[in-house]
Assembly symmetry: C2
DNA sequence: CAACGATTATTTGTACGATAAATGGCGGTC
DNA sequence: GACCGCCATTTATCGTACAAATAATCGTTG
């Protein structure tokens, strides 16, 4: 008699999260990001998590190791797992940022993200203008073309993301790459709120084209300014369209 | 007969890495960062890792879950674990950056890091000047005082790091925080190469003090300029002192 | 012979149980 | 009252068994 306990699914709301330990990691990670388990808190021990979710200790441990790797937790024998202070969290991790998005007020988050973009994207674009290769120019051009081919706002998100990722890559500094996920989240979150109102935001295409041209012609200063202009436009869209504060769920 | 196999230590060179699965994660992670396992490569399966290191499959799996959480790997049944493309790696993760440092040419890395700092820190300082709280000013002041109290270059590293972390915190944008580990690495790496020559680099203290004053007086523009000046000085130290290329180890 | 479908083999995923190691707390001793 | 050793709790590691996924293989059939 070994494997007869029918699995109690972790939660109906958690859709296609493949493996069990990833589902557990997601559940615990969300709990940390949304404040259910504040920094400094001692989490339930592994056996308790297992009982909570109807999973084995093995699966729980693997989930905890994942969170460990993202800087959310530290575990020690006899103590348990303690939530790390926020400054240790890897906010630029894809999952952590996603959980953060799920937990935080949408507008606040978008403003934080845009602030980051204003800090690093102009500089990144200037670097790209100096150092981009021809292949990188081609990648940016392809993304720009993709934006032009989009028939509605939703279709424009993917090439828009691709445009900015290509721009980051063209800066040829690997440490900049992880910031790509911030841009991705920004554009996706923004789409959820704004694009439903702007059926097809054609205005952004010339703004992107200006960035592209500056990079192609290797004009760092022009690239920097074009990005600043583009970001200012984005800021305007956000402050104009996004509701001031999401009403609290009951 | 269960627990009689005496542990074969993973490697004598790996010092105080506490738990076995962390040692394994370190060994595999270094192998990935230094190119032994290139992106796209299929890694040895879990049983093989276990045999290689004299560890159980459980420990190997927990190590792999850690690396998974850092974006270095993806695992799928019947396939194995494949190294992800570099653009998925979380370079801003503490461990990943450490492995990267171990694998990469020191000067190249320092230049990449300084480039990042030139992009981020002026903007962060400007934000800090706008929004810092009194407590945050105090934290920066304490760090500055610590720098002044240092009796040699080594003692100055910690408060110098603290100064920049405090500055980042004062910007009041959580997404900036992960960037702190880059600064930390920069200053530590730089100490290894430069400070042995500059017994006590007093020159940096007034440069830091200028940043502090601008933040205290809430002058964003002055803060930005002071940081630019400070970073320019750091750049000069690097290009002057750091050897062009580390001689290859035999 | 080509195309397709079932079978097989390999690898990760999950479970369970036992033991080791670390460590905070308790109680006893001097 | 201070110090020291025992105890309880929790993670760490091990081993084994089986489930699930899927690439590769092989056989069948049109």
């Amino acid at each position: 008699m070994v494997h007869r306990k029918p699995r109690t699914p972790i939660s109906r709301s958690r859709k296609r999260a493949s493996s069990l330990h990833l589902q557990l990691a997601g559940a615990i990670g969300e709990g940390i990001l949304n404040g259910t388990y504040a920094p400094g808190t001692l989490l339930p021990n592994e056996a308790e998590w297992g009982a909570m979710f109807g999973a084995s200790r093995t699966a729980v441990r693997e989930a905890i190791k994942t969170l460990n790797g993202k800087g959310l937790l530290v575990s020690r024998p006899k103590i348990g797992s303690r939530v790390e202070p926020r400054e240790r969290w890897n906010f630029l991790d894809r999952d952590v940022l996603a959980w953060h998005c799920a937990a935080m007020d949408r507008k606040q988050l978008l403003l934080s993200i845009q602030e980051m973009r204003r800090i690093f994207e102009p500089g990144a674009a200037a670097l790209a203008a100096e150092r981009r290769t021809e292949a990188q120019v081609a990648r940016i051009a392809a993304a720009l073309e993709g934006m032009g081919a989009a028939r509605n706002a939703e279709e424009m998100v993917a090439p828009d993301v691709e445009f900015h990722l290509a721009l980051l890559e063209a800066a040829n500094n690997e440490l900049l790459i992880p910031f790509g996920i911030i841009i991705e989240q920004a554009l996706r979150q923004m789409f959820d709120y704004t694009s439903r109102h702007n059926p097809r935001p054609l205005g952004v295409i010339p703004l992107h084209a200006a960035v592209f041209e500056a990079v192609r012609k290797q004009r760092p200063d022009a690239a920097r300014k074009a990005v600043v202009t583009l970001l200012r436009d984005t800021d305007n869209v956000i402050t104009a369209v996004v509701p001031a504060r999401r009403p609290r769920a009951p």
